[in-house]
């Protein structure tokens, strides 16, 4: 004790003790600095990972919507299925996900797509269909992973509006057969419940030509994308034989704008037959018209201001006042007839021609829409004539959609198949995102609130 007391009194070694205390302080400071820089670096890395993971998860949503929209959600079975890259049943009560897919830059994504929802189990609010339409809703959950260990999970509600669009494809559709003898310049979709036959010269002038048919497919052209419609698809809402609603015909028979049509030559007579022999200019203002027969021969110009809806009535319709004769419910355009859409921005919806025909007849013995030579414009129109025979003899150009019982093009037809989305009756081809949510980045597909 005496030695320690003496040492303390002499203060020997005190400098070393102070120095060691300073060293400890310095080391603590250094450790704090290192810890701060490590935390900052880790934060920067995780921020990079988080950004990359969200971008990857968003890519997963886009891939899912794209792939889903390229399938046709036609049947009840498909609506009850989940979706990966094709429709698949649930496994153990849970939708299967895709495998991880590389996005590049070290990022990956996978996704889960629910069946058509019957309860509100997804981001956002339940979507109510616009008036007169029905829609289906699916829920997509995508997970993204990126460099630095970032994981993100996002969810999107997508809605697909169904009907009552009456055009099964955005282009030409025949309830029985579609035959082309020579030179079809085409863009878009083609469909037929029966056979599709191309004898010569089908040329793509825009969107890829895709063909669906229930019977046989014959073509001299190779390389066209074509597929058979299954029995189930032929019976689906989209492709089945339609039953035409008579309401539009009945209403327009009594209340129409027929009196507003002006013609430099020819007239619309009391029997609602519009005809002119030669060199006429017909002006059709926007409105709804009901006619029993349309006949133009030689050099007619038809100027229409949208929207124009023409009901081509037929005495075969119960309640129709069209005269019972062979021209009833037919169109005869004979030579150099130009359909001139007066809209500055033209659309197939500018002119809608509905022809009653003779249900349930769909063959070439049905009432005829006959375009004989040089019918041009191009005609921006949607022609719905499932119980009429549509025949073109030479040189016809049109943009829009055509449905007819049987269709025959003899020569030189240019047709751009397209429809406004609001008019398409296709199922499953247009899924629209309606809500988006970033979830907890759990990797469980059934994480609460994010499935």
């Amino acid at each position: 004790m005496r030695v320690i007391r003496r040492r303390l009194q002499q203060e020997e070694g005190f400098v070393l003790v102070v120095a060691l205390l300073l060293v400890v302080t310095i080391l603590l400071l250094a450790a704090a600095i290192i810890a701060t820089s490590v935390a900052t670096s880790s934060h920067a890395t995780s921020e990079y990972g988080r950004s990359g993971a969200i971008a990857a998860a968003n890519a997963g949503l886009e891939a899912a919507v794209h792939r889903l929209s390229s399938q046709a959600e036609e049947t009840t079975a498909q609506q009850e299925d989940c979706f990966t890259t094709k429709f698949e049943a649930k496994e153990g009560g849970v939708c299967p996900g895709t495998s991880w897919e590389t996005l590049g830059s070290g990022a990956e994504y996978k996704y889960y797509v629910s069946p058509v929802m019957t309860a509100n189990e997804c981001a956002g609010l339940w979507i109510k269909a616009p008036a007169g339409k029905t829609l289906t809703q699916r829920c997509i959950t995508a997970i993204g992973k990126a460099n630095g260990g970032g994981t993100a999970r996002v969810q999107e509600r997508v809605a697909n509006v169904l009907g009552p669009g009456i055009f099964p494809v955005a282009g030409i559709y025949a309830e029985t057969n579609f035959k082309v003898n020579n030179k079809l310049n085409y863009s878009g979709e083609i469909g037929a419940r029966g056979n599709v036959e191309f004898n010569n010269g089908v040329k793509n002038v825009g969107k890829e030509i895709t063909i669906k048919y229930g019977g046989e497919y014959k073509s001299h052209e190779g390389g066209l994308t074509h597929e058979t419609l299954s029995k189930e698809e032929l019976e689906s809402e989209r492709f089945k034989l339609p039953t035409q609603p008579a309401t539009g015909y009945a209403n327009s028979q009594t209340t129409n704008n027929n009196a507003a049509i002006t013609m430099t030559v020819g007239s619309v007579n009391a029997g609602r037959e519009m005809s002119a022999a030669t060199n006429t200019t017909v002006t059709i203002p926007s409105g709804t018209y009901n006619l029993c027969y349309i006949d133009f021969t030689n050099a007619a110009k038809i100027l229409y201001t949208p929207p124009v809806t023409i009901y081509l009535d037929d005495y075969h319709r119960s309640g129709s006042t069209c005269a019972s004769k062979s021209t009833s419910g037919t169109i005869e355009l004979n030579n150099a007839v130009e359909w001139l859409d007066q809209a500055s921005t033209k659309s197939p919806a500018d002119l809608k021609i509905n022809a009653w025909g003779n249900p349930p007849e769909t063959s070439n013995s049905a009432p005829k829409i006959h375009l004989n030579n040089a019918v041009s414009g191009p005609m921006y129109a949607m022609i719905y004539a499932p119980n009429s025979y549509f025949e073109v003899n030479n040189s016809f150009s049109m943009v829009g959609g055509l449905v007819a019982g049987s269709i025959y093009f003899n020569n030189e037809v240019t047709f751009v198949g397209e429809l406004p989305a609001s008019e398409a009756g296709t199922g499953g081809l247009s899924f629209f995102p309606t809500a988006y949510h970033q979830c907890s980045p759990s990797t469980s597909p059934t994480a609460a609130g994010c499935y």
């Binding site: 020997e12 070694g13 950004s51 070290g106 990022a107």
Partner: protein, 229 residues
Amino acid sequence: MTLFEVLMATLILAIASSGLLSAFDAGRRSISYSELHSVATQVGERELQRVSSLKWEQVALNKELSWASGSSSTTNPTHYLSASECDTSVTLPSHKPCYQYDWSSSYEPLVLGSEAELSSEPYKATDPVTFTTSAPGGATRLSGSVYRYITWVSDSKCEGTGNTCFSASTQTNYKRVIVAVTMSGLQRPVVLSTLLINHKGEASNPLFAGAKCVEEGKPITEAASVECA
């Protein structure tokens, strides 16, 4: 207090101080690098969101610019450009020039558009786009470059019957957007990428049937009065 003690204490403090200075320097460098990384990430994320919000036709690169490989360095984003054709086995709107989107082995054709199509894309005339960040006094603090590459996606897993997976149409295929940010001092660029599809919705979305839009150029507070187009 002896001379020896003082010398020993001085030595210990000198060693400790040098360690502290090293730690300070390493910490400063690490924090500076983290700042670079953070800024690059935020600039990349901002650019990705900006491109994603463009109209479909404007999500493209200016075909008047050169899209040839410009560097032998594997950390330079232009290294992965190629003038050769790619993805010729599938139908896509174009097949060259191409970009190696994964910086490894897979090429996809670039989405190119005319200056007219890119009319309202502010960065159509430049590649890469340079950027700077400012210190509180206004002086330039950091600078870097943003490279954007947009490709037509060659998605072998898309197997739809609607044939929108691969087509010559510029409307139905989907696009990959790759944003690479380089900064002086950053060892490797920050690379972010995502996919974009042409949402057929927008004005033609049947859910919006009957909706009115505000005329282009007018404030959104103004009453919507025109047809959406």
